[in-house]
Amino acid sequence: MSFFYRILFVLLLLKIDYSVDAQITFPYNGVKHPNQSCYILINAKVVTDPNSPATEKEIIVRNGKIQNIGIGLKRPLDAVVVDLKGAMVYPAFIDPFSSYGMPDLPERKNQGRGQIEKSREESYGWNDALRTDQNAFEIFKVKESNGKSLRENGFALVNTHQPDGISRGSSVLVFTGNESENQMVLRETVAHHLSFLKGSSTQDYPGSLMGSIALLRQTYLDGNYYEKIIRSEEKNISLQYWNQLQNLIQIFSVEDKLDIFRADKIAKEFGKNYLIRTNGSEYQNIDLLKKIQAKLIVPLKFPELYEVEDPFDADQIDLSDLKHWEMAPYNLKMLAENNLMFCITMDGLKDPKDFLTNLRKAINSGLSKTKALEALTSTPADWLGIKNETGSIAIGKWANFFITNADLFSDTSKILETWVKGKPYKVGGLESDDYSGRYRAILGNENYTAEISKKDGKYDLKILTEDSIAPSVTIRFENEYLNGKWKDKDQKISLVFARKNLKDWEGTATLHNGNKVNFQLSYLEALEKKEAKNIQKTDSLTKDSLLVFYPFMAYGWTEKPQQKSFLIKNVTVWTCETEGILNQTDVLISNGKIEKIGKNISANSSKIEIIDGTGKHLTPGLIDEHNHIAISRGVNECSESSTAEVRIGDVVNSEDINIYRQLAGGLTTAQLLHGSCNPIGGQSALIKLRWGSSPEEMKFEGADPFIKFALGENVKRSGGSSNQRYPDSRMGVEQVYMDYFTRGKQYIKDIQTKGAANVRRDLDLETIAEILQKKRFITCHSYVQSEINMLMKVADKFDIKVNTFTHILEGYKVADKMKLHGAGGSSFSDWWAYKFEVYEAIPYNGALLHKQGVTTAFNSDDAEMARRLNQEAAKAVKYGGVSEEEALKFVTLNPAKLLHIDHRVGSIKIKKDADLVLWNGHPLAVQSHPDMTFVDGIKYFDVQEQSAMRKMIDAERSRIIQKMLKLKESGAKSSIFKSQRRRLYHCDSIEEEIHFDENH
């Protein structure tokens, strides 16, 4: 290798740039020139900040910063003059949420379950998903290909982090320029990034969204206890970093709109303020966002046009997706109109080229330009604590701006240059004079009229002649010089060149025979301006089609149903009380309660809506003790033998269509249970099926808290081929309980003796303690008599009761013992034979339990069955001859008793909640269905309204599909609809499920 090349190689390696050098600690190989630069930008229309109009100004840039700005500035002698010729200057954008310059994530090994321990051996904390030690400053590398695309979109600063893990460590604030890392970093540690995703961690825990939430909560607690309690016993790198990270800005990235509120709940609990990186569907939940005063970082991600030509393909797309396709561009407008605070991020875009297009789409959809600019400049600068340094074009701030040929938001606008830290980077390139026009072209003594036109930044010269054959000319323009080929009628080629002289071009042509003649283009006139091309604009949606549904899907409400007074007349009332069945009776409900039951009740107010119940039956709303609908991302947290710390209440999904379907089957209350894959599962949530409400609003207020336990084959993991997690036998199952209750007792004792402040708060043991203190109650998945008996004995030892055995298919064998212990049973009506432990399950179980005086319920544990629990109740009549009245109680009053809510629901009694079902026939008859279902006196289901809803769904679908077809006809690209999967892992190529069907 020659010496020269060796030097070049070294230079390339070190990425040394002669123009700038601020690496003061670095030795230098070569002649060290001073680092200095000065520019003056003239003839510019400058938008200094989002709230100022574009005005003519000059800008002086010195050594990366703005030295002066104004009109008629004194030009520094050393300034390079940049003539912008009327171009516009905007403050550069700042992206508060980026992963620019981060190394590729390690490929996630496709591991199933089985990694119970952390993978790193050093003194890190116990969970691999807590990557608190990840410091973006330490791993940031300038990556020009990505930096370039950021600059092309106007970004000069980004807050970047490694998006891996639940705690993702700290971010670094960097310039997007192409200089050394040492110079491109503006702030070394800016924000602590968090998420619910475990990322590249292959550790089992957390295996569910609720597990992620529990892990975060426990980590906040452990951070607080670290110095005081933990550190003397255990040194922990992860917690030490965690505590340092708490001093930073906190940025939380979520997966869907409900996650925003989940993150907010954690923030409130631990006194944090999160900036929340969302997914672009916030318009679907505006009111709730206003309530929590969320600060949002919003992507400009709009769904692509879908292929809908084939009606069966179109059927694959849900109304919610069709609507979102239509409404996503309106998201920011709706946020702005409701005074919600937001920044915009480029993150999440598949193609960075879509950024400005989508930004303009948002503007065309009603977002104000000021708001858009704020969200990209002043707001992120403010939120990131750098507003004194950047975010606008002002004296003393970084010279971060970009130059456009026209108003940024106009369709013809292009970014020409982006200046980063005082250095210009070409994007489209500044425009020189426009050469377009009509010219007289002279070649020797030939004479033509010619036209120079410009398309996509390139010039084209055409000879205009009346002859059928014109000379064809191909000319290249560069730097006020042109050259090219001139092919005459006889196909003879002359080579021409010319230089620009004022508006004309003068030069020479070399003819085919080698002779040289004069070549000239003399300017005649400008071209007539053509009409600006019709660019596909987003149509403005009418108010009707901008309607948001609650929830945002088919069967969602446009207007939530209201509490009213209803008088149901002449109906057969199944009271589920000692009054029994009352014929031809009236029931008045108002203020959400049952007001009167009797004959001939008259409506004393015109506001009371009268419902004719002739031939119909009224029953209490049905109650399902065991249900798993409406849960987001993981019903089971399988990873440990006790996961008492996880809470279904954290992950209630109010947008599950099964809520509505079950309402239509007469269900009004459901206990949402954790799955059954570990002996001590998670905490349950009790909801009323208030369709259209938020998760928090659905929760049954003031209800006693419960927890799911499980026995037998599922917790031994008999279904799979191998098991590494304790327990592996029913013997071990008992010991899990013995262990946890023993430790729970100790935990209570520790708190009593040392004081709560001096004991590490353990969310797992705390929950166990609640059970021991009779503040939380057990629902236990159970099948065979041995294990049922065992758990009761364990409970006896610790002076507690098993509140409910759920499934309890062999309960009939130990019904007497259950009665003695005081346990209730919530069973399948007739399931059996799906595994060995249910081979002696019998449909007479319910009747036998009931006849032994055990409080007996039938449950669903199945989304389909939960919409016809009345039929399951009827099976108690068939198998074992339970009376119809008592059978109905299996799905009303009895589950209410098991759930400790029988003072509120479960029977038709004055002052109880007006949770009622009006059936079109006998409530236990196979062919009957609800005509109406009420919760809290609100009519959430009406069979008549349902058919109107169906029509509306079909009409909305057709309207949007029509629109898509038209757009496609006009040439827009479309793609086959693919649904987004939400997972706990970052890597889409992994087909691992986040759930396990360990359930029944």
Binding site: W832, A833, R868
Partner: protein, 439 residues
């Protein structure tokens, strides 16, 4: 209802009741198959649900030699040596026919050792449920207790799963129990859209990238099998067990059952099979309601998925699966209602009953699990309705047998033989009732 032998005359009814109880208990623990000891029997004053849509109030049904000799209002003179059953207030139904079930092939779902419903590999037309069918399954008595008297025991898994046979729910061994052997070949059509997630967390479907490849493989297999069939006399041809099994598809003695749910998939599999001279029965057919014109035009028959299913999509009618039977009925399409699985078949009657609330008449609902399945199995000359000359396979229920609230089956006959209605569940019920002093 009183069970009386004419010879004994109406003696002391209490003694008689005890005697009967004893008889049943004796029979109870063994569930001996019927030993073709046919007794002439007449059932009187019954509400007779014929199964073809007709209903006879206060009717008579007379059976002998395993066949129905008379059904109607007045049987005329009946010989003396006849068992006479007074069915006042009770209903008579043809035995339910469970299609597409793993009965006899699966005993406990999560215990592999008890499962014989699928074989390794993807193209298994030669494997036969017939010889794996376990007549001693504890499941079977619980089904006939609820009126299911016949089942089409069908293999599952792979692409071509194997061959099904139809069994009566009574017999010492499979040879004894089989009604028609190897009558169907079962094919699972690839999905165009893959459904992922599970019911607690349903995920939206995504296109199956391998659909074309998978359907090509099926078409290829069928073309090879047909060529093999046509060239059967060629001396060059080596025996191929798989293609041999497929032959019946072209000789009319076997039917092709295709498990397919998507509308587009149904259209495509029917077209492709038509080009090979096969008219399949569509099984599952969740989206049949979308393409009734096509189904009627092609005169296809359908084994509909269980009524108790969730709608395929969020936007669909919340009761779509409840309403689909009525849509098919109105469109004049031959369909049967089915139940999934094996032990679940005892709820077959209720799968049909549920549709009554959504448009079918009670008799139409009954037809969908009796005469229509018989037609689909080409057994309508023997089974499926209580008509003269057909097998005397029927049961008697105190109340409506399509409603769980009222179904109470007291007697059942398979081909004229009274069958034991005891089962494991009743035995355990009795055992523990006794423990608690409940009887």
């Amino acid at each position: 209802m009183i069970y009386t032998k004419i010879k004994n005359m109406r003696s002391n009814s209490i003694i008689h009741f005890l005697f009967l109880n004893l008889l049943f208990m004796q029979m109870g623990f063994s569930q001996n198959p019927c030993t073709s000891n046919f007794q002439k029997t007449i059932i009187e004053h019954a509400t007779i649900h014929i199964g073809n849509g007709e209903l006879i109030e206060d009717g008579q049904l007379y059976m002998d030699q395993g066949k129905i000799i008379y059904v109607g209002k007045n049987a005329g003179s009946i010989p003396n040596e006849v068992i006479r059953i007074d069915a006042k207030g009770a209903h008579l139904y043809p035995g339910f026919i469970a299609l597409n079930t793993e009965v006899g092939l699966e005993e406990i779902s999560q215990v592999k050792a008890t499962i014989d419903k699928s074989e390794l590999g993807s193209m298994n037309p030669n494997v036969r449920s017939l010889i794996a069918y376990n007549t001693d399954s504890k499941i079977i008595p619980t089904l006939r207790s609820n009126g299911v008297l016949y089942a089409q025991s069908s293999p599952a898994g792979g692409i071509i799963s194997g061959q099904s046979s139809v069994f009566k729910m009574d017999g010492w061994n499979w040879e004894d129990a089989v009604v028609t052997s190897d009558e169907g070949i079962w094919l699972t059509w690839p999905t165009i859209n893959n459904q992922r997630g599970w019911w607690a967390e349903p995920e939206r479907s995504n296109p199956n990238d391998k659909y074309k490849k998978e359907t090509d493989a099926i078409v290829d297999y069928f073309m090879q099998a047909k060529a093999y069939h046509l060239g059967k006399d060629s001396s060059l041809l080596l025996s191929h067990l798989g293609y041999d099994a497929m032959r019946g598809l072209w000789t009319e003695n076997k039917r092709l059952f295709i498990r397919v749910n998507e509308a587009k998939g149904m259209i495509q599999c029917v077209q492709l099979m038509e080009s090979m001279g096969i008219k399949p029965v569509l099984v599952g057919a969740t989206e049949a309601w979308k393409i009734t014109d096509f189904l009627r035009e092609k005169k296809l028959s359908i084994i509909l998925q269980k009524t108790h299913s969730l709608p395929g999509r969020t936007d669909e009618d919340i009761w779509q699966p409840y309403k689909t039977p009525k849509i098919l009925q109105d469109a004049g399409i031959l369909f049967a209602i089915s139940e999934s699985g094996f032990w679940e078949q005892r709820n077959l009657g209720f799968q049909a009953g549920h549709t009554i609330g959504y448009g079918l008449t009670p008799e139409q609902a009954l037809t969908s699990i009796t005469l229509n399945p018989a037609k689909i199995l080409k057994l309508e000359n023997q089974l499926g309705s209580l008509e003269m000359g057909k097998n005397a396979s029927l049961f008697m229920s105190k109340g409506d047998a399509l409603d769980m609230r009222t179904q109470h089956i007291t007697h059942a006959w398979i081909q004229g033989c009274p069958i034991d209605l005891d089962d494991l569940h009743k035995q355990l019920y009795k055992k523990y009732s006794k423990k608690y002093g409940l009887n």
